[in-house]
């Protein structure tokens, strides 16, 4: 490996952290200088990650960087290391792309706010910490980065202190988030007490030799629940909703697209690399079970939301639930489906949060019951929203479909090969969740973008290009990653999955050749499963195009050649010219404003589930004490079961 590229991981992290401090130095007086520093930092970090694609993803090398040159001595890693394999770089790319988009979007989106220098300082620290987390080769640094990440995210959640509930949301996030951080710290302390090392590679080599050591098993439970908190898995999901609803949209993108991915990354590292116990049936049930419950509970919770961003927040946990579910399957197909969906989730959920931010920026409201008809005023945002909504609902040919399609296959095949009915039911839950997701987004599109325009939003205008541009970047990514699944599979997913499977290389590149073999580690238990379905988006799109052309030609030939039959109301008609024939049909009554609001949709469905919904309503009490209690109980239960079973 080129020794110059060797420095890129640490440089990328430093670019963001140094950018944070420079911003707070220069940004107080000069807004332009501040924005330039932010732009340089986020672009620099992205560029360095992109430069690492060739050696790490394509050539399969692993970059191990020891801070201060403290390389391992006599098989003991005492220095701090960064270890970037294809899995880390995959998440690093997700993080830097999201940071880049969010940073660019912030420039215009945040222009109504003051004390922006604090915003950008915290934003860059948040970005640096998540990048540091996924690139770190050291367990304790993962904890440090989690702490920086949590506290900057809490501060940014409460950034708009004037918002109702901003401080409350931040407080909940702080308290329950600390619970997760504490859990991670406890786990790390236990591992250190047993293995006397904090290096990930060395831990991975030593843990299998521990056998049934109760302390390392307890550490597993604590680490799993700690990372689960960071991914906002059930039962930690309510705080995500509170935090998302009040945070600025650019920060919601970060929380949903990036912070939850850190939890996912942590869980993948934990079960596949550190403990290598994903093929234990119990661990597989544990991970898949948590994923499936999060996926289903959160999608039903999203049904009852009246706030655009709260709804998106619940969906984001639901989608992370998909990722965790398939990650828990322990097959190569499952892991690649999970990684694919994790990437897609960052893209489409980022897009949806940015469109929500655009709506909020132009109208000042996120209330699904009072908005309506914005497609007439914000046509481009509407198009972007529809792309994002189609992606998250898994409509072909967008990226959400491509990854969900893999998810169903992975769950179904696992069920058939293992002869296990549990995984078949997981596939059923995943398919049903997808329909419910669609229903939720039908609700949003009907109650925000379509329907009738309320009087007070007559003067709303389209968002400026500077805000649309980041959204377009994400929308194009939605389409491209959906249309070329084989390309994504070859260049991004397969390297990441084989990096996870090739444990020996991961350990040896940090600890020196032969270290893994000396501790009896050869290859991980990942079994290769061939992809067994047929989905060719480009070919389908070609067929669709042909059919549409056929219909259009027939229609043109058949249609009478006069335009007098097409009646469209003119844009600038005056009050006297208003023709009643263009009004919506009201059963012969006088036309009134009668938008069908978000909460009035789907009553047939909600009525049938009223007991479930009222139980859920009481359960999500909004009291931080309750949420902490759920968290503590969940951690205690998982700890108990892990210690008994493993």
């Amino acid at each position: 490996m080129n020794s110059f590229l060797q420095n890129f991981p640490i440089l990328a992290i430093m670019t963001l952290f140094v950018g944070a401090f420079v911003t707070s130095l220069v940004g107080r007086r000069n807004a332009v200088a501040r924005n330039v520093v932010v732009a340089i930092s986020v672009t620099g970090a992205l560029a360095m990650m992109l430069a690492l694609i060739k050696p790490v993803l394509l050539d399969g090398q692993i970059v191990a960087y020891w801070l201060g040159g403290w390389t391992p001595v006599e098989g003991w890693a005492i220095g701090i290391s960064l270890e970037v394999d294809a899995l880390s770089l995959f998440f690093g790319l997700i993080v830097t792309v999201a940071v880049f988009v969010s940073g660019i979007y912030s420039f215009t989106y945040m222009n109504h706010d003051d004390s922006l220098v604090n915003y950008y300082t915290l934003f860059l620290m948040l970005s640096g910490s998540v990048l540091g987390l996924v690139l770190s080769g050291d367990l304790f640094n993962i904890f440090v980065m989690i702490e920086i990440m949590t506290f900057t995210a809490v501060a940014l959640t409460a950034f708009r202190t004037s918002y109702e509930g901003a401080l409350e949301g931040a407080l909940k996030y702080l308290v329950v988030g600390s619970l997760g951080s504490t859990s991670v710290l406890l786990g790390i302390a236990m591992i250190y007490s047993q293995l006397h090392t904090l290096n990930l590679a060395q831990i991975a080599a030593l843990i299998p030799g521990q056998g049934g050591n109760l302390v390392t098993i307890a550490a597993f439970a604590f680490l799993f629940m700690g990372f689960g908190t960071k991914a906002f898995l059930f039962p930690f999901h309510p705080l995500a909703a509170d935090a998302h609803a009040v945070a600025p949209a650019s920060i919601s993108l970060m929380i949903s697209g990036v912070l939850t991915k850190c939890g996912v990354y942590g869980i993948i590292r934990l079960v596949y690399v550190l403990y290598q116990n994903i093929n234990t049936p119990f661990v597989s049930y544990l991970v898949t079970g948590f994923g499936a419950v999060s996926m289903f509970v959160c999608v039903t919770m999203a049904f009852n939301q009246h706030n655009f961003k709260r709804l998106l927040a619940f969906h984001s946990i639901s989608q992370v639930g998909y990722v965790i579910t398939v990650v828990g399957l322990g097959s190569a197909l499952g892991l690649s489906a999970g990684l694919y969906h994790a990437m897609n989730h960052t893209i489409f959920k980022g897009l949806l949060f940015l469109t929500a931010g655009a709506v909020q920026h132009q109208t000042g409201s996120l209330d699904l019951d009072s908005l309506g008809g914005l497609s007439k005023k914000m046509p481009k945002t509407t198009l972007l929203f529809l792309i994002g909504a189609a992606s998250i609902s898994g409509l072909p040919p967008f990226n959400g479909f491509a990854s969900k399609w893999l998810i169903y296959q992975a769950a179904f095949l696992k069920g058939v090969y293992d002869g296990n009915f549990f995984y078949i039911m997981v596939a059923v839950v995943a398919l049903i969740t997808s329909v419910l997701t669609l229903a939720s987004f039908v609700k949003v599109s009907q109650s925000v973008f379509f329907g009738q325009l309320p009087e007070q939003y007559r003067e709303v205008r389209e968002v400026p290009l500077a805000m649309r541009l980041p959204m377009w970047v994400l929308a194009v990514l939605c389409v491209v990653t959906g249309l070329f699944p084989n390309f994504v599979q070859t260049y991004l997913l397969t390297p990441a999955v084989s990096a996870v499977a090739n444990l020996t290389a991961y350990i040896d590149s940090a600890m020196g050749a032969g270290y893994a073999a000396a501790h009896g580690i050869y290859v991980s238990g990942l079994t290769e499963v061939p992809i067994t379905g047929v989905w060719n988006p480009v070919s389908w799109l070609l067929l669709l195009f042909c059919v549409t052309c056929g219909v259009a030609i027939v229609a043109l030939l058949a249609s009478p050649n006069d335009n007098s039959k097409l009646h469209i109301s003119s844009k600038d008609e005056t009050a006297e010219e208003r023709d009643d024939k263009y009004e919506s049909f009201f059963s012969g009554e006088e036309a009134l404003y009668s938008q069908v609001g978000g909460s009035d949709l789907f009553w047939g469905f909600k009525h049938s589930w009223r007991k479930y919904f009222s139980f859920m309503h009481d359960w999500h009490s909004g009291i931080v004490n309750d949420y902490t209690l759920y968290g503590v109980v969940a951690i205690a239960l998982v700890l108990l079961v892990c210690v008994i079973v493993l």
Binding site: L395, F412, F449, V547
Partner: protein, 322 residues
């Protein structure tokens, strides 16, 4: 060049555009005649669907003031085209789909969803409050039939997958057809009979036929999703509805009655058409004539308890290896 011409033939003539429209009109005409006869009426001529289509095409189109024009016009066309593409993936004749290697059963499930979504989005874009109610009902109907549909698909895939010793082709229609060629139609597989009945119930709801047409209830919500549509866009929506009758019956044929081939294409096509006609009578005309329209929550409860229960029984039986 010949390959290209053949592909164009597949897309535009058979089993694509032309054949789909023809079958849709035929099935809907037969359905209307049968329902009329059961109600002691004479009923319309067989090609009434086509006459309706032509008449709608000749009418003027009024785009309401609240409508989002681009979506209002694009939704019917995209939905219709997506529906036609499904026909290209069904191996209806001789066990070969017109285009293999493009889509499997899950893709078809989602393409059917896409068709309904196009109707929903079109309705939303028309800006009418009646359409708002209609689209919410359409969505509830979709949630209702999706669960049994998914269970049926998984049960079938389980049967065909375990039998296949080579490379597993999950959810592949081709694999399902080949399995039936070897082992006889799946309807003869006794543990799949509940699943077949469940799919028979799914068909009318997916198509939006009478007892389950909650989304277009004329008497309650003024055609719901279609209340602001007129002229050619409405004609396309009507045609989509008719073609869906054909697609759903053909899907049942492929899943449960496939694998039979006499070797003569013409005979196969005739058998296939007869099966579609028969299925239309059983799944659509009979319930249409016999039942009044269900309430929204009745549809949901019926599908998630009774129909999903049948499909689940099948899945469990199949799971136990029966």
């Amino acid at each position: 060049m010949t390959a290209l011409l053949w592909n164009l033939f597949y897309v535009l003539i058979f089993p694509g555009l032309f054949f789909c429209i023809l079958m849709g009109i035929l099935l809907s005409g037969l359905d209307r005649i049968w329902v009329a006869r059961m109600q002691r009426r004479v009923g319309p001529p067989l090609l009434q669907g086509w006459y309706d289509f032509l008449k709608c095409c000749g009418k003027e189109t009024i785009v309401p003031r609240h409508a989002k024009k681009a979506v209002y016009f694009a939704a019917p066309v995209v939905g219709f085209a997506a529906l036609i593409t499904i026909a290209l993936f069904l191996p209806v004749v001789g066990g070969k789909p017109a285009f293999s290697g493009t889509a499997d059963l899950v893709v078809i499930l989602y393409l059917l969803t896409l068709v309904s979504v196009c109707m929903i989005v079109g309705a939303a874009a028309s800006g009418s409050p009646f359409a708002g109610v209609g689209l919410s009902r359409e969505m509830v109907a979709m949630i209702s039939y999706e669960l049994p549909f998914v269970l049926v698909i998984l049960a079938i895939s389980k049967v065909t997958l375990t039998a296949d010793s080579g490379l597993p082709m999950t959810f592949s229609l081709q694999a399902i057809w080949d399995y039936q060629t070897v082992n006889g139609p799946l309807i003869a597989h006794w543990s799949l009979i509940p699943a077949a009945i469940a799919l028979l119930f799914v068909i009318p709801c997916e198509v939006g036929m009478h007892p389950f047409d909650i989304a277009e209830a004329e008497t309650e919500i003024c055609e719901g999703t279609l209340s602001e549509y007129s002229g050619p866009p409405l004609a396309v929506f009507r045609l989509t509805h008719m073609v869906k009758m054909y697609i759903m019956t053909a899907l049942f044929y492929v899943l449960f009655l496939g694998g039979i081939s006499t070797g003569i294409v013409a005979v196969d096509v005739v058998i296939f058409i007869l099966v579609c006609v028969l299925l239309t009578f059983i799944t659509m005309s009979l319930p249409h004539a016999a039942c009044a329209r269900f309430k929204v929550e009745q549809v949901f409860q019926f599908y998630w308890t009774f129909v999903a229960g049948l499909a689940l029984i099948s899945l469990i039986l199949v799971w136990l290896g029966l």
